[in-house]
């Protein structure tokens, strides 16, 4: 991989993956591979997600009862585990989203170029 490629891709911040999973599942239940694909696709492949790291995150969310897991059949008639948002998870998504927005706004505020400091 070239240096350029590395610079363009961003490593995920701790905890951000949880938020992305919750957001992805808002559209409906999905299986693990589909979640990974969706996150990659929707971020225009900017996020460098090691696909495996998805799974500990999924289990963490199950333990917190924010998502549930059930057996289902996928598009090509293959059996798979489907992850779905719970009511609690939906609430959590709202909380996390607003938190993230505030964080992002605050960071943007700090990073905005200020006249005097610029040379």
């Amino acid at each position: 991989m070239s240096t350029k490629e590395q610079q363009e891709r961003i490593e995920l911040l701790q905890g951000t993956l949880d938020l992305l999973i919750l957001r992805t599942l808002q559209l409906g239940p999905l299986h693990g591979h589909a979640i990974a694909k969706a996150i990659e696709f929707r971020s225009d492949e900017v996020f460098q997600v090691e696909q495996g790291s998805l799974y500990p995150a999924l289990h963490r969310l199950i333990k917190r009862r924010w998502i549930s897991v059930e057996e289902g059949t996928s598009e090509n008639n293959r059996r798979a585990k489907f992850y779905a948002l719970t009511a609690q998870g939906r609430r959590q998504l709202r909380v996390e989203t607003s938190k993230w927005e505030r964080l992002a706004a605050a960071i943007a505020q700090i990073l905005r170029p200020v006249g005097q400091e610029e040379r």
């Binding site: 591979h33 990974a36 696909q51 500990p56 199950i62 798979a80």
Partner: protein, 879 residues
């Protein structure tokens, strides 16, 4: 755990699925299948780490942390082995004693009966209340039932598969070469069926055995009776044995180990319908208002205690209707030894007092360990401060320290419990075999069971928390700055409060130890007094023979005739110099008392009395100091009585007792004809309580003691006395002892208690000296630098030593004083319990505190002297 496993299995499946899909996508994009698979794996990342992380999500973290703490704790305990061993031993002593005592109490009061499915067997007793005036005949316990009441409950209940009744503690004379009294029970004929204890040989009772009163003389023997008396001969079944002059056919031998359902083992069982034959002076079967039968019921499967209550209460109310004004309340418990309400009322407070006393010892042990840990905590202060400043939570650190102290207490608790279980079984046997001779054998199973295990575990955990919590909180106080800097000036405040805590611990330890040691000292003094006391009469060279002829089927004329012949034969024996008869032998634990009124006074005075023949006074060496002795013709009808000197002084101060009159509670008037010298004939150590003598009458022959004085060197008198009795009646049960042995019965309890409390006191002393030593050496170690500075600045060594001694002796002195005061308050209770204990015995109260102080000074001196030898340069550099 199952959920964890399920989730992890699911993960495997999910990962496989994921790789397959990714591979398929790659193939769709035009890769070869092998290339596609590797690309998928690459994209997935480190599979092992993914699994590891997911596994962590599902791990119960506190358990992991606990294991981690335990490992860490074990390592750090291993680093200071001497402290660890001292702490473990201290806890082992404390826990061991408590567990041992508990296992005895457990055997007495908590254990289920040793029969099959004992949890189904309920003991039923009743409490009768009367409105106005009610009357009830009682034999043994008011909670027992009459024969008719028992049959009502047995026949009309719907909750029991069977209800058995039995009269416990039936004494009978077993005839044979060596006739003697044996203890047994009279039981209903379903007894062995309800208890599910079919005899090991032969058969139990059948319903026909109880069909008519007094008709079926059959008996089941206990295994030990069969072995000791009949040489384990199976042919005894079907043969007759003679109990109280009636022949009973042996029909069965009980299972080895089955001795009935009372703490005093039963050696035989006869049908309850034989009661009138066995004890001819009573007719309990026909008395519907007589409490004499204990009742046990085996519940049907699935029946609850509430249902039993409801069902039996209906029957109780129906019985009550026959007795106007009477209300019955039933007390129903799972059957155990000692299950009647009266017994439990006594047992539970008594056992709580005992457990409390032993908990004191555990407390001393705890205080010790706390001391040791506090001392160590100061050494570890820096480590802990470092961890706190690196962001460790205080709760987490406290938990870790507590885990460590729990480890210690577990090790100590296990060791202590093992020692207790191993030593209390033989110890109990020692105590029961050293009880006074006339005390019935008692069967207590002190072997550990689930109760004991749970108790030991709870005690161990409580101990661990109790001794661990203070040091844990103390040394995790978030005052990082000063401890990081070391023992600098800013740590002074902490040092002070830590020191106060330590001193308070030592002080309370000394106080507890002082109480235990003083109690032991008082008891030992009592023991010494009991061994050396002079009872005030000539106790040596006298043999007593107890004869209960009434119980052995004699009526009064035959008893009188027997006695006349027996006394003649005794007087004819070689070496016998004098024979006397008395209702109670001196110090035989056999008392009679009545209420008397004096002429011209209304209050009632309780006076103990004895019926004696004229030769009694000269035989045991009590002189008649005024008036005259009885004559041999005087009997109960004669109006004269003899009082003791102190009784005379108390009743008629300043007057001539001769000719004074006393009125009995029955209304008879008695006149004083003589005054006898005081002697401790009734209670050892008590010669001045009220006491008077009546003349011996023929009525007393049915139950009396015969005293025989003999010249020294007259051979085996006991044997010739028995031969003399058996030459008149070969089936007589006769009991011959030396009068001196009666002293034994008074001395044995104080010997046992003094021995036990002495051992307890010694333990407390050991623990306490460890504590004082630990405290002092700790504080000396802390002030090594201070001492070094003082010495370097030219302080004289003796002065510094005095200072160190005074610092550490102060809490000892305060605690000791508190202990002395506490013990002075409780010694009144002790002296009322045990013979020969003075409330404020000066020797005990002076010697014990001196002893304890001496030990404390010694424990202080050793570390203090060590501090003196420290080189000032080393001391100053050591921080």
């Amino acid at each position: 755990m199952t959920r964890r496993k399920r989730m992890l299995a699911q993960l495997e499946e999910d990962i496989r699925d994921h790789i397959e899909r990714e591979t398929q996508d790659n193939i769709d994009r035009g890769m070869s299948s092998e290339e596609a698979h590797y690309a998928a794996l690459r994209k997935f990342g480190n599979m092992t780490r993914v699994k590891e992380e997911t596994r962590e999500v599902w791990t119960i973290t506190w358990l992991e942390q606990f294991m981690q703490d335990a490992r860490y704790g074990a390592r750090s305990l291993g680093r200071s082995p001497s402290l660890t061993i001292a702490a473990v031993l201290a806890i082992a002593l404390g826990v061991g004693i408590n567990v041992g005592i508990f296992s005895v109490l457990n055997g007495l009061a908590l254990r289920l009966l040793p029969i099959p499915h004992a949890q189904e067997v309920l003991s039923i007793s009743q409490i009768l209340r009367f409105r106005g005036h009610g009357k009830r005949d009682i034999h043994d316990s008011a909670g027992y039932f009459s024969w008719s009441e028992y049959r009502d409950y047995r026949d009309h209940n719907s909750v029991f598969s069977g209800v058995a009744a039995y009269e416990p503690f039936v004494e009978a004379t077993l005839a044979g070469g060596n006739a003697r009294q044996v203890l047994g029970s009279a039981a209903s004929c379903n007894y062995f069926d309800v208890l599910e204890e079919p005899p090991a040989r032969g058969r139990g009772f059948a319903a026909a055995d109880c069909s008519s009163a007094g008709a079926n003389a059959v008996v089941v023997l206990s295994d030990s009776m069969w072995r000791t008396r009949f040489g384990a001969n199976p042919a005894v079944i079907g043969k007759p044995i003679v109990l109280n002059r009636t022949a009973y056919t042996v029909i069965g031998i009980a299972r080895p180990g089955f001795t009935g359902t009372e703490p005093f083992p039963s050696t035989f069982w006869v049908p309850v319908t034989m009661d009138k034959v066995l004890e001819p002076d009573q007719n309990r079967l026909a008395n519907d208002n007589m409490s004499w039968l204990a009742m046990l019921g085996r519940t049907r499967p699935g029946v609850t205690l509430d249902q039993v209550h409801a069902d039996l209460n209906v029957i109780a109310q129906r019985i009550d209707q026959q007795y106007p004004g009477r209300t019955t309340s039933l007390s129903i418990h799972t059957a155990r030894f000692f299950s009647t309400p009266e017994e439990r009322q006594f047992l539970i407070p008594a056992s709580s007092v005992i457990l409390a006393a032993f908990a004191l010892v555990l407390l001393v042990a705890c205080a010790n360990v706390t001391n040791l840990l506090l001392a160590r905590a100061s050494v570890r202060q820096k480590e802990i401060a470092l961890r706190l400043s690196l962001g460790a939570g205080r709760g987490r650190l406290v938990r870790q320290l507590l885990t460590e102290s729990l480890l210690l207490s577990l090790a100590g608790g296990i060791l202590g419990s093992l020692i207790a279980c191993w030593s209390f079984v033989p110890l109990m046997r020692f105590v029961t075999t050293h009880l006074p001779g006339d005390f019935p054998p008692i069967s207590v199973n002190v072997a550990p069971d689930l109760h004991v295990l749970v108790y030991a575990l709870l005690l161990t955990i409580c101990t661990g928390i109790a001794f661990g919590i203070v040091p844990a909180l103390q040394c995790t106080r978030p005052d990082l700055n000063s401890s990081m800097k070391g023992d600098g000036a800013s740590a002074v405040s902490r040092r002070k409060s830590g020191g106060v805590l330590l001193k308070a611990l030592v002080g309370s330890q000394v106080a507890v130890c002082m109480v235990l040691l003083l109690a032991a000292g008082l008891l030992l003094r009592g023991l010494y007094y009991a061994q050396t006391v002079d009872p005030g009469f000539e106790i040596k060279g006298v043999v007593t023979t107890f004869l209960d002829l009434g119980r052995q089927g004699y009526d009064q004329p035959r008893a009188t005739q027997f006695m006349a012949g027996f006394v003649d034969r005794l007087l004819g024996l070689p070496g016998v110099t004098e024979v006397a008869k008395a209702e109670c032998a001196p110090l035989a634990h056999d008392f009679s008392a009545d209420h008397f009124t004096l002429s011209g006074r209304s209050d009632q005075i309780s006076i103990e009395y004895n019926h004696v023949t004229p030769s009694y006074f000269s035989l045991i060496g009590i002189p008649i100091v005024r008036g005259r002795n009885f004559t041999s013709t005087e009997t109960h009808d004669a109006p004269g009585v003899i009082v003791t000197e102190s009784t005379a002084r108390r009743l008629w101060p300043g007057q001539d007792p001769l000719g004074q009159t006393l009125r009995e509670s029955s209304g008879h008037e008695r006149t004083v004809i003589g005054v006898a010298r005081d002697a401790q004939v009734s209670h050892l150590g008590e010669s001045t309580s009220n006491y008077l003598y009546y003349p011996f009458g023929p009525e007393d022959n049915a139950r009396s003691y015969i005293l025989v004085r003999y010249a020294t060197g007259s051979g085996d008198l006991g044997k010739s006395i028995r031969t003399a009795a058996h030459s008149i009646d070969p089936n007589l049960s006769i009991d011959v002892t030396r009068l001196e042995d009666n002293l034994e019965a008074w001395r044995a309890p104080s010997r046992i208690v003094a021995g036990l409390s002495g051992a307890l006191g010694a333990l407390a002393l050991l623990l306490c000296s460890i504590g004082v030593y630990g405290m002092v050496s700790y504080s000396v170690n802390r002030s090594v630098r201070e001492i070094g500075i003082r010495l370097a600045l030219g302080a004289d060594k003796a002065g510094v030593l005095r200072h160190v001694l005074w610092q550490s002796m102060r809490p000892v002195l305060i605690g000791g004083a508190a202990g002395v005061i506490l013990c002075a308050m409780v010694s009144g209770v002790l002296s009322s319990l045990m013979f020969g204990i003075g409330t404020h015995d000066p020797i005990a109260f002076v010697s014990v505190p001196c002893f304890l102080l001496g030990v404390a000074v010694l424990a202080t001196l050793i570390p203090a002297r060590r501090a003196m030898t420290v080189d000032p340069v080393v001391a100053l550099r050591c921080e």
